[in-house]
Symmetry: C2
Subunit: 424 residues, 2 copies
Amino acid sequence: MKFQAVKGTRDFYPQEMRLRNWIMDAWRRVSLRNGFEEYDAPIFEYLDLFTAKSGPEIAEQLFSLTDRGGRNLAIRPEMTPALARMVNEKINSLPRPIKWFSMPRVCRAEAPQKGRLREFFQWNIDIIGEDNVIADAECIYVLVDLLRELGLKADEVKVRIGSRALTVAFLQGVGVGADAVDSVLPVLDKRPKVSPEEFARLAAAAGLSAEQVARIAQFQDCPDIGALKAAMAGRDEAGKAITDLEQLLTILRTMGVADYCRLDMRIVRGLAYYTGIVYEVFDAGESLRAVAGGGRYDNLLQVLGGPKVGATGFGMGDVVLGILLQEKGKLPANLGSGQLDYFVADDAPELFEQVVSLVAAIRARGRSADFSYKRQAVGKQLQTANRRGAKNAVIVKAGGQVALKDLSRGQQQEMSMEAFLKSV
Amino acid sequence: MKFQAVKGTRDFYPQEMRLRNWIMDAWRRVSLRNGFEEYDAPIFEYLDLFTAKSGPEIAEQLFSLTDRGGRNLAIRPEMTPALARMVNEKINSLPRPIKWFSMPRVCRAEAPQKGRLREFFQWNIDIIGEDNVIADAECIYVLVDLLRELGLKADEVKVRIGSRALTVAFLQGVGVGADAVDSVLPVLDKRPKVSPEEFARLAAAAGLSAEQVARIAQFQDCPDIGALKAAMAGRDEAGKAITDLEQLLTILRTMGVADYCRLDMRIVRGLAYYTGIVYEVFDAGESLRAVAGGGRYDNLLQVLGGPKVGATGFGMGDVVLGILLQEKGKLPANLGSGQLDYFVADDAPELFEQVVSLVAAIRARGRSADFSYKRQAVGKQLQTANRRGAKNAVIVKAGGQVALKDLSRGQQQEMSMEAFLKSV
């Protein structure tokens, strides 16, 4: 019998694990330095939680299971429902704004393809309890902070920023009824991703006239706030949405990340629950799926049984990010080399007990150490030390002496075991 | 609608998450300094993998699901099957010994009770490809290294060490047939956990005579290697098992952890697949379930479709460990306080832009910084800084000056913003 991993999932051998940890360590480091606290939730929830947020159709895209009592559960396909559940449960005792991050493993029962697996890790940044657009700016800043941290430059990636609120106001202005908006937005979401012909076909299917399509396209292609103001002239109800967008861009400039950001009203996000600023991160060449996406979702906590509380945030998956970093040559070489401080070898088999005791003494001092389980010639042991990427080899010699060898520089010096242990 | 977490699972609010990270960081730090490399596998596997290892009965204890193609999957209840699968897949290219660790989330469909949840994290340490008992000693050393790292003393916890090989040899010597051994071992596993009367009842049900029970008890209560040798006198086939045990204890003494370890032949481990040295960690008072347990399992890789390769290792769950640490008063106070380096406040609302820009500058230098999203009196802002456990408050003043306040010592000094930024 030969066993394999389930299709669309990944095994993390040490090499892949080091890369995963390298990405997740950056997520955590950036989150913490921006004042976010880490949280997590169970890997599965009652199915109701997901259908309450996304409708009954979502069940098909989930891995469902039942507990012993026959209740319907599902593995989480995203973190936001659990976040809303947890915040709602303690809404009266949590100081606001709530700035939380998480790096959950999530699963989706989709057909695997490039950049889309059935199991992946998703970085989630959310600010709950703050209506002001400064919270949206903070989230976008964190996103750019991460991109910079991983070595991605402003000419390689862009955060494209739109406004769901403004788009909805414009749609209503060109005669799209309130009922139709929810079905038109997913079509607009596809516009940057499909050919103009395909978009025209989808738009017609959603009930948009050719004139509406043309006006929407003109609106979405506005290059700056000034053009947007002109497009919305006389529509007072759009005032706050435009002011928010303008303030957002000002704060991002003040925070020094404007070069990573760009107004792009084609960004609307497909999901129904966004209410304000929305954004996605793309390779500057737009060749890939979005690396991250998010926005303001002021109604979701209420939908999931809580009070109406302002909320904004984004998610970033590890799979698309990994592909982008590889394409841009940003993945570090030799991850994990130098992880082992000392490889201890013996000069003769009878010194083995001293090797074992020295290894324990090094580890007890909080440094990493390892040794060969088999008694071998010292040259063979040093080969293992090199293969393991150890920083130093320590050769135990007769008479309580050791030779300490710096494996990167090749320098070697002899000293007493006591003197060596003092240097550890 | 009110939503709750599934029974037997945990939400990790920031406070609980800091504790989880504190434990898991220790697991990782100790693993790395002992020369182990991290790996992981998917959260679910084909059900066959688990039933091949543990028999069809295991299915009831699993959370099962199906993929789109109708194939039977299950959430992993433990890591060993995936470890064996991954090692088998690359057995010819992985340099041996394979020293790997993992900290998987695992799920079991059991009835929740104290110390036993339906979802928990389990630290796994394994050495594959080394038959010598030195590998078992290494695993036990790592276990003690972790206990020490978390502040547990030798008079608070003990690694109780037995030998499955020796126990099986003894059982056969008192007339327990080879067929009966697999059903007798789980009964012996219960002996330290139930009353003598209950044990007598279980032993009788497993077909043991009163005389066999008495002889087994005498054997299991042997206090040292000498007594074991006497008990096994004339049984040559037990020679290697005794030598292994003797060598193991010698190596642990050489490594300086003998005070945490104790020979205890009552430890046999319930599962069928152990073949050699076995051990469990208990509170010295024995009040709890085992905190960790493991041993040698030389046949498992073969059972799961690979070659016969020596393997040994252990697992430790976070739930029982957390309870033990709490009972012993070893949990750190104020976890996460001091996580925020700087809280930036403004002396007047018009300085807000400078606050935002300073926060971004601090973060860009890799230090953590946060600020109030609402414009408030400086006293109120400093209250928030204190609540957040920030190390320092920085008050932005007019004229490009800042006041830097050490929040633990209360000292405050004024300086230019440039001078402050140089100090970050």
